[in-house]
């Protein structure tokens, strides 16, 4: 087991280096680099431009730039943002709370609805309600997330005017994740909570609706596979009630692939939040990434890609290991 984990980690390292290299080259090759903005400024002399280039490390070739980024990154220095001049890690860390708050809330609600729904569909297979939910879930995972978000804003913000259009705080309130904001929480927690909850409803609902569709289908097919097993037939022939069959025999084995699947999708949730965060101008990592792409902020872009890819690789290994730990039939 330990050997397997070590081998997987060792394989992941060249993959991670490959990702960072390819993405870095892609980033560099795209036209309109970070200096394009200065082209519009007529008062800037070419000497000044060269100086900026040099201080940002853009005067070297792409390979050299990659190498200096890579070696610095190994030492723990991820560079500084071209726009805000703050260290990349600080920028990213300051955005993590907003993203996690959104994705974790959505994730929990989604699983609380999707898993029971999927199990229920499996037990009532081919009944009217199962077919109804099947049709709904097809529509659910064919729905473009961003369109759903726009529609919700149209309905609840523009027409009914009961929820804010986006952001995490109102303009008159303190900026999120600043000392003033946390002061607000400690002074008037009720007010702060109501504001946060109000801002969270629409993005969370957007994420949950699309998420339920896929997860409940997955749960349903896993449960169906389980109840077709011989030991469920045995349990049934012993005269156990449906409820006992679910609780004692079907639940655990059918949850196994679901848990693995959830583990695998966790890191992509953060990437998936890009869409929602953009629509609702939620100040999380996804928004940070889009802004960085808009402004050709190389260090931020590569930093986020590197973190997300590492997470994906780590969670892949965790999923494999957890599967082996939970299912005694699997050996390495």
């Amino acid at each position: 087991m330990t050997k397997f984990i070590i081998r997987r980690i060792l394989i992941s390292i060249p993959v991670l280096i490959g990702i960072s290299f390819l993405v870095y080259m892609l980033m560099q090759a795209a036209p309109g680099g970070p200096l394009a903005a200065f082209g519009l400024n007529p008062t800037l002399t070419s000497e000044q431009l060269d100086a900026i280039k040099k201080s940002w490390g853009l005067d070297k070739g792409p390979l050299e730039q990659y190498w200096s980024w890579f070696t610095a990154m190994l030492r723990g220095d991820w560079g500084t943002s071209f726009i805000t001049r703050r260290p990349v890690l600080d920028e990213i860390v300051s955005r993590i709370p907003a993203t996690l708050m959104l994705t974790i809330t959505a994730f929990i609600i989604q699983q609380l609805i999707a898993l029971p729904l999927g199990m229920w569909s499996a037990f009532k297979r081919y009944s009217f309600s199962d077919k109804f939910f099947t049709a709904l879930s097809y529509i659910g995972f064919s729905t473009p997330t961003f369109w759903l978000g726009i529609l919700l804003i149209y309905i609840f913000s523009a027409n009914l005017k009961i929820l804010p259009t986006g952001g995490i705080t109102d303009a008159r309130e303190a900026t999120f994740n600043t000392p003033g904001y946390w002061d607000w929480w400690s002074k008037t927690p009720n007010e702060a909570f109501t504001s946060l909850a109000g801002h969270m409803i629409l993005p969370v609902v957007t994420l949950v609706i699309v998420g339920i569709a896929t997860d409940s289908r997955f749960m349903r097919s896993s449960m169906i596979e389980t109840i077709n097993q011989d030991y469920i037939r045995t349990a049934r022939s012993k005269g156990l009630s449906e409820g006992q069959i679910i609780r004692k025999h079907a639940l655990r084995p059918s949850l196994l692939p679901v848990v693995t699947n959830i583990t695998l999708t966790l890191p992509t949730l953060i990437a998936g939040a890009i869409v929602t965060e953009t629509i609702f101008s939620w100040p999380g990592m996804g928004k940070l990434f889009i802004d960085a792409v808009n402004r050709a902020d190389y260090p931020i872009m590569i930093g986020i890609v590197f973190i997300l890819s590492s997470l994906i690789l780590i969670f892949n290994i965790i999923a494999d290991v957890s599967y082996a730990l939970l299912d005694p039939r699997i050996r390495f």
Partner: protein
Amino acid sequence: MIESKQNIVLQAEKKPGLSPQPMADPQARSQLADFWLRFRKHQMAVFGSGLFIFLVLVAVVGPFLIAEPKVDVKQMSQLKNQPPSFDHFFGTNNIGLDVMAMVVHGARISLFLSLMAMLVACSVGTLFGLVSAYFGGWIDIVLMRIVDIFLSVPLLIVLLMASRFLVTPPPPGGSGGKIIEGAEIRSLTLLPLILGLLSWPRVARLVRSVTLSIKEQEFVTGARAIGAKNNRIMFIHILPNVINPVVVAGTLLIGQFIVLESFLSFLGYGIQPPLRSWGTSLADAQSEFSAGNWWWAFFPGLFILLTVLAINFIGDGLRDALDPRSKQR
């Protein structure tokens, strides 16, 4: 799947000589008829196909029936922001453009672009998968590491980075991207290429796994024994046997590409004006939330939803019809 198919083919070829009424034997159906019989049983897939044909008709014939949306400066104040009515089934937007005309004229590009991207992804993926599995060894290791690299980065993230080839980003603090000259042509040719070149690895992995089992079968050994060259074995003998899963995967990819394209266009990174896709229509709609004219955003998005829904149904039907042993959802 493979053996059963070959059996059917073999028997279909044998039977006509043996029995006077070959069609009476269910085993004697041609592959196509066999496929159609299974596909037809899948009600959702038949419904999806009908819906998809309708959408393709909208894209192909629609532009001839409904005039291209043009700004009418004189009547703009009367025409703008009208809710759906008998004059304008889908309503009008803030400069008096008919939303139905926008949807119909956007359909062509949305569908065409996704189809092109799918072809790129499937051909590159199939080629790499075949080569990787057929030759094995170092080639396989290197190619599969490349696939790993691609699959370990969220597609949307790389896509956003790559789409900077289409538009230069706006200056810091400014808004609106600077448009490269000839951007609309560029976006139409480059976007399918970018989408396809970033999503082939999934197809490659699929083709590889199927090829690995096929290349061990007798007919491949037989072909090798009579002196067939590698290329011939790969493309004449193995390729026809891996095409079915690729068709299923390709169908589902079209749906993904339609959504990705519309999101990119929505952000201003996809299709460039004056070209129009469903995504660009949605992008316009975002600018006027406060007006509350929901129809502007609703209809382009509804067509995206319907297309993706139709494609998902078709994909499921194809999976059941082409690959009867695969797990049903």
